[in-house]
Symmetry: C2
DNA sequence: AATACCGGTACCCTTTTTGTAGTTAGTACT
DNA sequence: AGTACTAACTACAAAAAGGGTACCGGTATT
């Protein structure tokens, strides 16, 4: 098909979308934005997310450099997740979602 | 769990996220932003999306009031999809994704 | 001794997405 | 007349993602 007006979606947009286009990701970023949270705190904030899915998302977001996982050596040991600088940049997208949602 | 610092994610944010958190949605909005496009033009712009999935997304986005579907009575008849006002508001989120992706 | 917190995993089932093909109706070409 | 092409989808089976519930091993509280 000859198509003058439809450019292909840029690869870097597809890559960023790949992160956001998975269920619960936006909620997880929303919840993380006020500081470090632990697994069960995220679970509570996000709502009905199954723990398996939350664990999956956290691995993906960590691999993408958006979150860091930090084990705190206490009894019982805790794990905290916080946004990286990159995560704070991605959070600007979530801010845009919030503005859209509020209108 | 008592959790002072983790507020639940607001319902309206969950609802907006529900649209974006499905595969290809961001690409479809990106492609739609420059004007009306037809089914096969969207398909080409988005890339490897299966036509069935594109058709599904278009129905969802139309139901959400983000896109309008317009049948053009020509031979062969065409169908155009364009953003509504609401769609243009949602496109601000996609703009934020592009800014994130470009950095 | 029993219960609860902690960060997950295991299991099994349903929903979503994918890949490939085909359909319908109307032109256009040979 | 027959073949091919276009546009906008739809059909079907299979694979991937997501969901609900239960449970683990270790520590701490009651």
């Amino acid at each position: 098909m000859r198509c003058r007006r439809c450019e292909p979606v840029p690869e870097e947009v597809r890559r960023a979308a790949g992160l956001l286009e998975r269920r619960w990701t936006i909620s997880i970023l929303w919840a993380s934005s006020e500081g470090a949270l632990r697994f069960n705190e995220l679970k509570q904030a996000v709502g009905e997310i199954p723990p398996r899915t939350l664990a999956q998302r956290l691995v993906e977001l960590e691999e993408a450099g958006v979150l860091v996982r930090q084990v705190i050596d206490a009894r019982p040991p805790r794990v905290e997740y916080r946004l990286t600088d990159e995560g704070r940049r991605l959070k600007l997208v979530v801010d845009a979602v919030v503005r859209y949602a509020d209108a």
